[in-house]
């Protein structure tokens, strides 16, 4: 797979703040790559470095095989960007801002394809181009940035929380646009806090925490990292002894509970059948749970019986 973004050991320090601290990231061509992490973990800083708006303190960064800091302007011909905090020029109308950005990205004033695309997007997003920048609501500013990004074709879309402030209907329009550019073979790096959206759109996700990528892989891969919880009606722990691969065995409120590595679920089924268990419940980890493990320091809330948080931690045990 051709790599569009390749980041190795990226660090970015603002004075004493280590916003990024050895971040690795790989995004292959045609991938829709989810970029997740708690507030302040360094997602926006990473996107700024990828665009050459901020210079890496150390580490190597390549976008389309070149250093974005040195070749920023040339690279930007191939990139569309939606910033994390969208701001518009207060005394330019929305339509003017979209046209201006498009022209900077190389569109000619009377280019037909662009005008049609612009019209289509404005209609789809229900966007009023006449208002002055300062009069737009948060959601409308977001639409402005999205239309500016999608109106001109790009090879790589870097989107920093593109749907924050959008209503559910508009979020659907956004997903539709992502599907469209994916068809066209474009690559997308999508930072988001909306997990259902990530689950629906992304092939691969990376989770950042405190300036490092702590996990990266397809959603199926990530699911396998955590354990599935199994429980059935029982009055004491004696039947559990015969179950292979069971961890964290315990009996609570008349139910026996244990966890099992998600890729080993099928191997416990024969034992359970033999025991003729009743009220069997098998609960795969929800995506939410998966991410919550990485998000907060206080994982106890969601941590059923101390399953390892990551493969690395599992290996360390």
């Amino acid at each position: 797979m051709v790599s569009v973004i390749a980041v190795r050991g990226l660090a970015k320090h603002f004075g004493r703040v280590h916003a990024l601290d050895g971040l690795d990231l790989d995004v292959g061509e045609g991938q829709i790559h989810g970029f997740l992490g708690p507030n302040g973990s360094g997602k926006s800083t990473t996107t700024r470095v990828l665009l050459g708006l901020a210079r890496a303190t150390s580490g190597t960064v390549e976008v389309f095989g070149v250093d974005p800091w040195r070749e920023a302007a040339a690279l930007h011909r191939r990139i569309a960007y939606v910033p994390g905090d969208v701001s518009a020029w207060p005394n330019l109308s929305g339509g003017e801002t979209i046209d201006f950005v498009a022209r900077l990205r190389g569109v000619h004033r009377h280019e037909r394809a662009y005008r049609l695309e612009r019209e289509r997007l404005m209609e789809a997003f229900l966007f009023d181009p006449h208002k002055k920048g300062r009069a737009y609501s948060k959601g409308n500013r977001q639409k402005l940035a999205l239309i500016a990004a999608f109106a001109v074709p790009a090879e790589l879309y870097i989107l920093d929380e593109p749907t924050s402030g959008l209503d559910p209907l508009m979020a659907m329009v956004f997903q539709h646009e992502i599907a469209r550019v994916r068809e066209g073979g474009a690559t997308v790096l999508l930072s988001s806090h909306i997990l259902s959206e990530v689950e629906q759109l992304c092939d691969v996700v990376s989770i950042v925490r405190a300036g490092k990528v702590v996990e990266s892989g397809t959603l199926a891969d990530l699911r396998h990292l955590t354990r599935t919880e199994v429980s059935f009606a029982a009055s004491d722990a004696s039947p559990l002894a015969s179950v292979p691969d069971a961890h964290d065995l315990r009996v609570e409120h008349g139910r026996a509970r244990f966890t099992v590595d998600s890729d080993r679920v099928s191997s416990v089924l024969p034992a359970l059948t033999a025991l003729h268990v009743e009220g069997l419940r098998i609960e795969p980890p929800s995506l939410e749970e998966l991410f919550l493990r990485h998000y907060g320091d206080d994982v106890a809330v969601v941590d059923h019986g101390g399953a390892p948080r990551t493969r690395r931690e599992a290996a360390a045990r």
Binding site: L53, A54, A73, H76, A88, E96, R103, K131, R134
Partner: protein, 539 residues
């Protein structure tokens, strides 16, 4: 009303340093004027003769106060009162807009209005804050005047009169903030009203009736339309009338009541003057970074250009007047000689006015370059730099537009100066001087473009304060340095001070090469360093 003290305290803290500068600056101006009046017009007789000249050339009154006799205090207030009041008025109207519409536009007001403070407390806190600021300004000015040995009563009346004009414009600012949607809109409305009333007071005095001894003017009705006119009618050190102070204060109370009434009739963030709808498609000019910078700076450059035009007209029309005054007044002649350096009075006037013009052009330049910093803080720079626009090219467009601004300001001044000369019945002898000095100031002001740009690249957070401070320092050195007897090398540190001018033996262009070298080196440095600089969005 429990939120009131907290809101007032927050305003005082936020403005602390700024208010100290405004109020102490006003008092300092009063006390410096006393010193220079003492030097230039030491005797009652010299003052009386100046007043007689003023009566003969009423146009001078446009920029001075109301003549009320040749006493030392009265004469001094004639020279300086409008400027003391102007400072109080500017301080007050900016203050009013900053804490009302400014907060509203930035979204801070919403945060506050959602608490127990409600919607009215912030407005009342701003009002109280403005009243306090004007009280401080009035007291400091009174103390500064009394400390020079002038009569206490007159000093107090002078201070209060300036503060009262400030109060009125506090009211004007509060109402403007209710009417307009943005703080820049409200500020320009307030400043327009301020300029018009300043002019109305001056024109009203110029059209007034002189007394038979040519020492005193009875203003025409026009002056009575202007808060500046009211302030002048106190005639400090001559009549010490406090009636007009009451008038100003009463009007301020009325305006404040109007602001409160308007506030209670509108939504937070809404305005009475609706915003015009924008066009849905960008015009052809909006296709490049410089196109955008031009669009953003156009209103301010036009404003500075009008200032340049007026300065140009005054330079040539007042040249003859000043020559006449100088003939009767050796002290004034000395002052002009000091700034302009040994040329005749007419050429000297042109040089002095064009030095001021250089400062005006420098202000325009600094403001335009500072826009780059505003764009960076606001986040719009990030949007623009995520397109195929190079960082250095982005900065360069602000620098180029700043240079265009300078040329516009000085070009407008040259047109104004030519118009002034045209009114002199075919006497074009000053044209050469005007052209040389004007061109010299283009070079001087350009230095500020590159200096501000270098600050922006090296220490982004200092761009705005340091950029403006340097203009101020340069003005003090270049314009007043010779007057206050600063050493020559200090004066020549200021670009305005080394700009080529006319001297008694021709044109002195030696400074030009220094200025050009500084512009080229500074420009290259700024753009070169910009290539290696991060975007620094945080304020």
């Amino acid at each position: 009303m429990t939120a009131f003290p907290a809101l007032l305290g927050q305003r005082l803290r936020r403005d602390g340093v700024q208010l100290v500068l405004w109020t102490a600056g006003t008092a300092l101006l009063a006390s410096l004027t006393y010193v220079s009046v003492g030097q230039a017009y030491g005797t009652e007789q010299s003052r009386a003769s100046i007043l007689a000249v003023v009566m003969a050339n009423p146009v001078i009154m446009l920029f001075r106060g109301l003549p009320s006799g040749a006493g030392e205090g009265a004469f001094m207030l004639f020279l300086i009162f409008p400027f003391l009041a102007l400072l109080a008025a500017l301080m007050s109207s900016f203050l009013a807009v900053r804490h009302t519409r400014g907060d509203e536009e930035a979204g801070r007001a919403e945060l506050v209005a959602a608490t127990r403070a409600g919607r009215r407390a912030p407005l009342l806190a701003t009002l109280a804050h403005g009243v306090l600021a004007n009280l401080v300004l009035a007291s400091l000015t009174a103390v500064a005047l009394a400390a020079t040995g002038l009569a206490v009563r007159g000093s107090v009346v002078s201070g209060l009169a300036a503060g009262a004009v400030g109060l009125t414009f506090l009211g004007v600012g509060l109402v403007a903030a209710q009417l307009m949607r943005t703080s820049s809109g409200a500020n320009s409305l307030a400043v327009w009203i301020l300029m018009l009333s300043f002019l109305a007071a001056g024109i009203g005095n110029a059209l007034g009736t002189p007394s038979t001894d040519l020492q005193r003017i009875e203003s025409s009705w026009l002056t009575w339309l202007s808060p500046f006119g009211w302030g002048e009618q106190t005639r400090p050190f001559a009549e010490d009338d406090v009636g007009p102070i009451v008038l100003c204060t009463g009007f301020a109370v009325l305006l404040a009541a109007v602001a409160v009434a308007l506030q209670s009739r509108r939504d937070l963030g809404a305005s009475f003057v609706p915003e015009r709808h924008g066009r849905s498609e960008a015009p052809a000019t909006l296709s490049s970074p410089i196109g955008l910078v031009a669009r953003l700076s156009r209103p301010s450059i036009i404003g500075w250009g009008v200032g340049g035009l007026v300065t140009g007209i005054l330079a040539t029309t007042l040249a003859a007047v000043i020559r006449d005054i100088g003939a009767d007044n050796p002290a004034l002649e000395r002052i002009m000689q000091a700034i302009a350096g040994g040329v005749d009075m007419e050429q000297g006037t042109v040089v002095v006015f064009f030095t001021m013009l250089g400062i005006l052009a420098a202000c325009c330049a600094v403001q335009t370059v500072c826009r780059a910093r505003q764009e960076e803080v606001h986040g719009t720079a990030e949007l623009m730099l995520s397109t195929p626009v190079d960082r250095a090219r982005w900065l360069a467009s602000f620098m180029v537009m700043a240079f265009v601004g300078i040329v516009v300001v000085i070009g407008a001044a040259l047109v104004g100066a030519a118009a002034g000369l045209a009114s002199r019945n075919g006497d074009w002898s000053l044209l050469g001087d005007v052209a040389v000095t004007g061109a010299g100031q283009i070079a001087a002001a350009s230095v500020f473009v590159v200096v501000t740009a270098v600050i922006f690249v090296v220490a982004p957070r200092l761009t705005i304060p340091l950029g403006w401070a340097l203009v101020l320092i340069s003005m003090v050195l270049g314009l007043f340095g010779p007057l206050f007897g600063f050493p020559d090398w200090a004066v020549r540190l200021s670009p305005t001070g080394v700009a080529p001018t006319v001297t008694s033996d021709g044109v002195d262009v030696q400074g030009l090469w220094w200025l050009l070298a500084a512009v080229v080196a500074g420009g290259a440095l700024a753009l070169g360093l910009m290539r290696r600089r991060d975007l620094a969005p945080a304020g």
